[in-house]
Symmetry: C3
């Protein structure tokens, strides 16, 4: 399985990165995240070039990482800065380092060609940043399934009216429609549903509601949702609003770093509510989506989705468009890679 490399991925939540070494796999790459003494989040390769010890087993000496096995030390720039066995430090002792940026309350990492790592390419999630009137609760799961079937899941919200009846949904609506647009390598899905039972937590709305979700997918495998809910026939633009964000950073061909966030504009100071939101969200994912996605992953057994010739339903349009964009971007990355090699040969 190939992953996009020249994108900003969410690698961690800010409080997961500190003075404890954090090893994580991002798009097939073992990376090591930590903070310098000045508090800056940095990332270098997580594999020692000497005998391939995971550097995350090592320790921080100031801003440098010391390998636990034989004590080589590496700077936040991936330079070997100490060889306890000799004064000599040769170029092959340096390791990879990865651009890291903290933005929108998330830690972003660029696993690809550093020369292309422009922070302006980070998906705009300013609408979920914390402020005096807004609070975003983040959760993290190490999900044991492929990131692409999770993205399929997120881009096709028709599933909530079956898989999530009783949690995020009150049941299938009378009718619904899905509109898909593509813009600047983003895929925007608008899913509207008419006359369905509201989810349990919105039961106060009455027996039937109209709902609409805007979902914006970024090549970073970020999906940003805005939901609206009104009484049937009402103006959806004015409806009750929910904002949430699901991020499926690929770990490797079998695992996903799954970040999920919920953003609210009420009870902003309520830390107990934070905990309830996080627990609820994780529980639904763990008990409803998780077992389904794991089962599908086993059935697919590593095969490419399209090679299995799936039946295509209207709700798939967004997910299939995502697959087309990813395919195109992968081809662009290959061409860029080939060109770089020619130029440096």
């Amino acid at each position: 399985m190939k992953f996009l490399k020249n994108v900003w991925y969410v690698a961690a939540l800010p409080d997961q990165v500190g003075r404890e070494l954090l090893g994580r796999k991002i798009a097939g790459v073992h990376v090591l995240l930590y903070r310098t003494q000045a508090g800056e989040a940095v990332a270098i390769a997580d594999t020692c070039p000497h005998r391939f010890a995971p550097l995350n087993k090592g320790s921080l000496i100031g801003d440098n990482v010391e390998c636990l096995y034989h004590g080589l030390q590496f700077s936040p720039a991936g330079r070997c800065v100490r060889n306890p066995q000799a004064d000599l430090i040769s170029p092959n002792m340096h390791i990879g380092r990865y651009p890291v940026v903290e933005r929108h309350g998330l830690v972003w990492l660029w696993p690809g060609d550093e020369r292309l790592a422009d922070p302006a390419k980070i998906p705009d999630l300013s609408h979920i940043e914390n402020s005096p009137t807004r609070r975003t609760v983040h959760s993290f799961i190490e999900a044991p399934y492929r990131h692409d079937i999770l993205i399929d899941n997120l881009m096709d919200l028709t599933h909530i009216d079956f898989l999530h009846v009783g949690s995020f949904s009150g049941g299938p609506p009378e009718s619904g429609e899905t509109v898909v647009e593509e813009r600047d390598n983003q895929v925007i899905v608008t899913r509207t549903q008419y006359r369905g039972a509201p989810p349990p937590r919105d039961a106060d709305m009455g027996p039937l509601v109209d709902r609409r979700f805007h979902i914006r997918w970024f090549p970073s495998q970020v999906t940003a949702f805005e939901g609206r809910m009104v009484l049937p026939g009402g103006s959806l633009d004015q409806g009750r609003k929910t904002v949430f964000t699901h991020i499926a950073t690929p770990a490797d061909a079998k695992n996903t770093n799954y970040f999920m966030s919920f953003t609210r504009e009420h009870a902003v100071e309520d830390r107990d509510l934070d905990a309830i939101i996080s627990a609820t969200q994780k529980k639904v994912i763990a008990t409803e989506d998780g077992p389904m996605l794991e089962a599908i992953d086993r059935r697919m057994n590593g095969a490419d989705l399209m090679e299995l010739r799936p039946v295509v339903l209207p709700g798939d349009t967004g997910a299939l468009r995502v697959r087309r964009v990813v395919k195109r971007l992968l081809q662009e990355e290959e061409r860029h890679q080939a060109a770089s090699e020619v130029r440096s040969a």
Copy 2:
């Protein structure tokens, strides 16, 4: 590993099939078994053609199965009968269905070419059907080893005098002989043993007995046993009788659906005895055959038995004949398959 497809396999015990969806793997195929509202046992593919969700996670809506993920519905004939996202139902939305017949107290399924699925080909196990004077107790195990080494085990009863000393056997007899016949793709083994200690539960017979087992193997991987035991030199036809049946329905190359039955003609109404028989049988299989077959499976590591050039002993004659019949039938299936493809091209 190739499996015979054009045979009736025992897929389940009747009380395992009901209004709860039962997913099972039969000869490499994921099948879904359930009963219609009228009580008929049916089987369709257990994989949704949309995104490959296991249909067994879904639910029954009347006689149809609704996929839990996005709500496609399928009839007992494997037809897609509801697409909640559009009125359109296209031919590629239909899935496989498998002929099912209940007979002799077992649920039989035909995973191959439906046109050949003649119930007359079901092995005749009428001698184990329940009646006012006869009671058969069935048990089921998901066995984590290949079906063919289980069949080898069943066809070569010399093993009971070593592996099952103290349970099914009192120890090796003074002498024994194995006669093998083949008839209509069935393999019939007659194993006679002279002057051996009886198994513990027949200790009342005295210190020494003669025993004879008739074992009939069917391509359905069914083995039907009739045992007789007499005092040395007595007429085996008149001896104390035991009837049992072991069925090794292949799940996949590593697992077996193992059904085992014991049939008695006394205490027919005694439900406590039923439970004792089932528990005893399962315990002996789990503690004596199971560990041995798992260990052999690991040592063979997926290889074909004959390629490993095993030593052949007289007791193997039946098992080797079975392997020859299976090989011949697999070749016939291949020819049939090739002919079908030519005709439909």
Copy 3:
């Protein structure tokens, strides 16, 4: 992964071999170890040639092993000596037997060409044999990592000053040097360290010591250590002595039979001290080296070390020399094998 076959490997500790059958994997070969009634340690193949049952599940009948599955019996010479199903015993019913020698308090086995199995080739470990003035405590671990990365670990003692700080080491020394010699297919490393903190158990020496280790590697994957410790500038030949021996008998490409010994010349009769030494040694290996070596094994994912182009440090010299010797000996074994086949063709 190829293993040297024409060497004596430590297969077991003497008290692991008795009248209970012991199955063990040595250099990729399943072997069965036991003692005859006369107390002699012997080894035959652990796989029955009939249906590949592990013979270690069987039982001893005098000096012979009876297979649990159908009762074939094998002598300590690997000859089939009883076929309960017929008087016939054919040559293909015999199995491999492996030369075994008990020496230096260890059980040695030769998995290769028996004609070359000269006990004179057993590594000389007479210096760890028990005597009235010397006591060696042995321990055994089934280690879930490749033997070659364990040998790398043992041959490069620079690791103790990082991985074992607080247990075997007080911290990195001011300076150190490694000298490597090769003699008769043995690799001898002398590692000297100047002005380092002593390990905790030698804290009585004062804040700083000089240390020297002689390590002798044998193709049997035996490493014999002698350590000396003095006050800085003292004569290392007169220093406080420690003697220990680590043996990395390959099991298969993923597992190692790890034997470790500590030899002392004081409190020779103290059995409680024996237990403390064994527990301490196993604990350090299990908590410090074990997790590191398992992690490295996963990162290397079965690849050959040199193909991964590791950075080479001075401390690696011994380990790399070992790899060169093993490569040369493997080539010799191949040539010997080819010549044998020509001669017997």
